[in-house]
């Protein structure tokens, strides 16, 4: 029955109690537990789609689309004398754990990233040999749980990312339900098989920015100062958090907006805690600029994640001041997650291709977000890696296309002046004018 039929019968849907809300109340009443799912915020929030580029016309000079070079390489993490990462493209792979993902999926991420000349990142649960082996540039996440954390793996990494939080759940810890605590995952995390594993939300041996500086000192002592140190945070009080991270000694800051995905969290947490990526980027850039470290040779680089889907998103993030972006959900889709060819199987577990987000339950038909051996064996890491590399190339070419149209010889030359906003909200968050006007609404934080 469609909306017109309902309206003709005099039935009116409540905007407050819509069918999804009613279902959520009924589900809570039946089960007595909150809804846990994967992915990022599903609600519509101001995002990169609300920005447009001002292509070159008479007042700006474009680059020839298929002839003139537009650089895409980035260097990350050299501020304190570490060996920086030299990446060919400004798109990196975000941290996703072995445990949340299968070993084959992690291998595919490494393969795809390496083929495209970029980095991938471990996650909660430690470093797997297949991931290290296939990743030319591997960032090792140093997380509150320290599951599987050991000094040998820290030294094998090309950079260290201290995880403070993630965009899907700033202030929250991790969660890996018992269905995915296989023998190998349990062994790596020193946990009993089959338990519902909850990772701490705070680091066990430091708290606050002053301690963080000392922790970074320890990690630099451990690695002889060779590894760049990233600090990753969920977007919330981003302006202040970035300043604290930089003052503590971060080489790279990673800001993850609320559209960024997770393997498992409470739906109410994902949807109601944190701020959109669009609102976080200018805050982070402002903080870096005020500290004099934004886009400087010995500066601090900014990686932005949370809802990056296309080369246009990449270009817009860079134009707002990011040095690179990171992708997680989009990388999983590129590998084969939510593939419509698996529609029957998604339906069999109560979902549908394009809607599947129950990464926590370990029954992912694509074989990506699972520890079930039969499901995982369906996934071909070589084919998955090839698909990811293709996708990364497309993102890069799309960003180059836009950069050339704006007259830029390097994608990081894009700037806020190249952007306008379609909505007042986006204009205020991104701090660019509403299209057709010179109006930038709002007062930036810290002003």
């Amino acid at each position: 029955m469609d909306d017109i039929d309902l309206a003709r019968r005099g039935l009116r849907q409540s905007a407050t109690y819509d069918p999804a809300t009613i279902h959520a109340i009924q589900r809570a009443a039946e089960t007595g537990i909150y809804d846990i799912r994967g992915g990022g915020a599903k609600k519509r929030v101001p995002n990169f789609d609300d920005l447009l580029f001002l292509g070159a016309t008479l007042s700006r000079y474009p680059l020839e689309g298929y002839r003139e070079r537009c650089g895409t390489d980035v260097v990350l993490g050299g501020r304190h004398g570490a060996f920086p990462l030299h990446l060919d493209i400004p798109v990196t792979i975000a941290g996703m754990s072995f445990g949340a993902l299968s070993g084959r999926a992690k291998e595919a991420l490494g393969r795809g990233a390496s083929e495209a000349g970029t980095s991938t990142t471990t996650g909660d649960g430690g470093m797997t040999p297949e991931e290290r082996g296939q990743s030319k540039h591997l960032v090792y996440q140093y997380l509150p749980s320290r599951y599987g954390m050991n000094p040998d793996d820290l030294r094998k990494a090309d950079a260290i990312e201290i995880g403070i939080g993630q965009g899907a759940k700033p202030g929250g810890g991790g969660m890996l339900l018992g269905q995915k605590i296989s023998e190998r995952v349990a062994g790596m995390r020193t946990l009993p098989m089959g338990i519902d594993q909850r990772s701490a939300s705070r680091h066990p041996d430091w708290c606050g920015p002053d301690d963080l500086a000392i922790k970074m000192g320890e990690l630099r002592e451990l690695t002889g100062g060779e590894k760049p140190i990233y600090v990753k945070m969920g977007a919330s009080r981003t302006y202040y958090d970035v300043k604290l991270a930089v003052n503590a000694g971060a080489d790279v800051v990673v800001v993850d907006g609320m559209q960024g995905g997770t393997a498992a969290a409470q739906d109410c947490f994902i949807e109601h805690v944190g701020i959109p990526t669009l609102a976080a980027v200018p805050q982070a850039v402002q903080a870096l600029q005020e500290l004099g470290v934004h886009r400087k040779p010995d500066g601090v680089q900014l990686i932005v994640s949370g809802g990056i889907r296309s080369g246009a998103d990449v270009a817009k993030a860079l134009a707002l001041g990011a040095d690179a972006v990171a992708i997680g959900t989009a990388a999983m889709i590129a590998l084969g997650d939510n593939d419509p060819r698996l529609e029957d199987e998604y339906r069999a577990i109560g979902s549908s291709a394009g809607y599947y987000d129950d990464y926590q339950d370990g029954r992912d038909p694509s074989g990506i977000a699972t520890q079930d051996e039969e499901l995982a064996s369906r996934f071909d890491p070589i084919e998955g890696g090839r698909r990811l590399a293709n996708y990364l190339r497309v993102l890069t070419m799309e960003a180059q296309t836009i950069a050339r149209a704006c007259g830029k010889a390097h994608v990081t030359h894009l700037e806020p002046e190249d952007l306008v906003a379609l909505t007042v909200e986006a204009a205020a968050m991104a701090r660019v004018p509403l299209a057709g006007t010179t109006w930038v609404p709002g007062t930036p934080v810290g002003m």
């Binding site: 007595g32 320290r146 954390m149 020193t190 338990i195 066990p204 451990l222």
Partner: protein
């Protein structure tokens, strides 16, 4: 190791040598103008003066004596080495230790032995809050008392306390075992007192002996996980 090698001792003075140079030597990295340490050569670190991250990341069966007190993360992530701190230790001593022995002759601040996977941490005096937090296989023996939230989310290993324990001992504990001789102010969620069976008396005696104490193990109470929170159950909501 022969007798000649055993007696060889290198003195490193943190008032004259940088921390990076000291740690690099201990980790087997080359340091310009300084001879590398020989196999089995012991080290004495002078003038620690509360420095952070002293003797972190060693991976060598070497004895290191630190004269004075140290700051945060002393002997962090240690592998194989025996580190003696002739003073007190700041936050996170022997954090994430993998193996070896770390001995603190004074007191230790909070998060002693945090997340450590193996080895033996001995604290002669008291330890602060969160001692053994998220421990993953280490053995910790504390001569005095420990602070609140100790052994929080402790996954594996053994924590021995000759004195008292503060609030919320063993909150959300997994498979670690805790032995306390004195009073426990309160137990955390899912942590319960358990029977001292002969195998527990035996392992406790072994731990006390290894740490240089000769207490009667029968004076201790064992604590561990009730395993009721291993899988989420809404009926346990009030425990979280």
């Amino acid at each position: 190791m022969d007798a000649m090698t055993e007696t060889k001792v290198r003195e490193l003075d943190l008032s004259e040598t940088t921390l990076r140079a000291v740690n690099s030597l201990l980790q087997g990295r080359s340091v310009e103008g300084v001879d590398p340490l020989e196999a089995g050569e012991s080290v004495v670190i002078r003038h620690a003066r509360g420095a952070h991250a002293v003797a972190v990341g060693m991976d060598d069966p070497r004895r290191v004596v630190i004269q004075g007190s140290v700051g945060y993360f002393a002997a962090g992530m240690n592998q194989q080495a025996e580190v003696v701190i002739e003073g007190s230790a700041g936050v996170g001593v022997a954090e994430n230790m993998m193996s070896g022995i770390v001995r603190v002759l004074g007191n230790a601040s909070q998060s002693a032995g945090a997340t450590a996977h193996g080895g033996l941490l001995i604290i002669k005096g008291d330890a602060g809050a969160r001692c053994g937090i998220s421990m993953k296989g280490v053995d910790i023996v504390v001569g005095g008392s420990i602070g609140h939230m100790s052994a929080f989310m402790a996954q594996a290993g053994r924590l021995v306390v000759r004195g008292d324990a503060g609030d919320a001992l063993g909150d959300s504990i997994y498979e670690a075992r805790i032995y306390v001789r004195g009073a426990v102010k309160s137990l955390g969620a899912d942590c319960v007192a358990k029977e001292m069976r002969p195998e527990h008396v035996a392992e406790l005696e072994e731990l006390l002996t290894a740490a240089g104490f000769d207490d009667d193990p029968h004076e201790y109470t064992r604590y561990g996980s009730a395993r009721k929170l291993y899988n989420f159950n809404v009926d346990n909501h009030s425990a979280y």
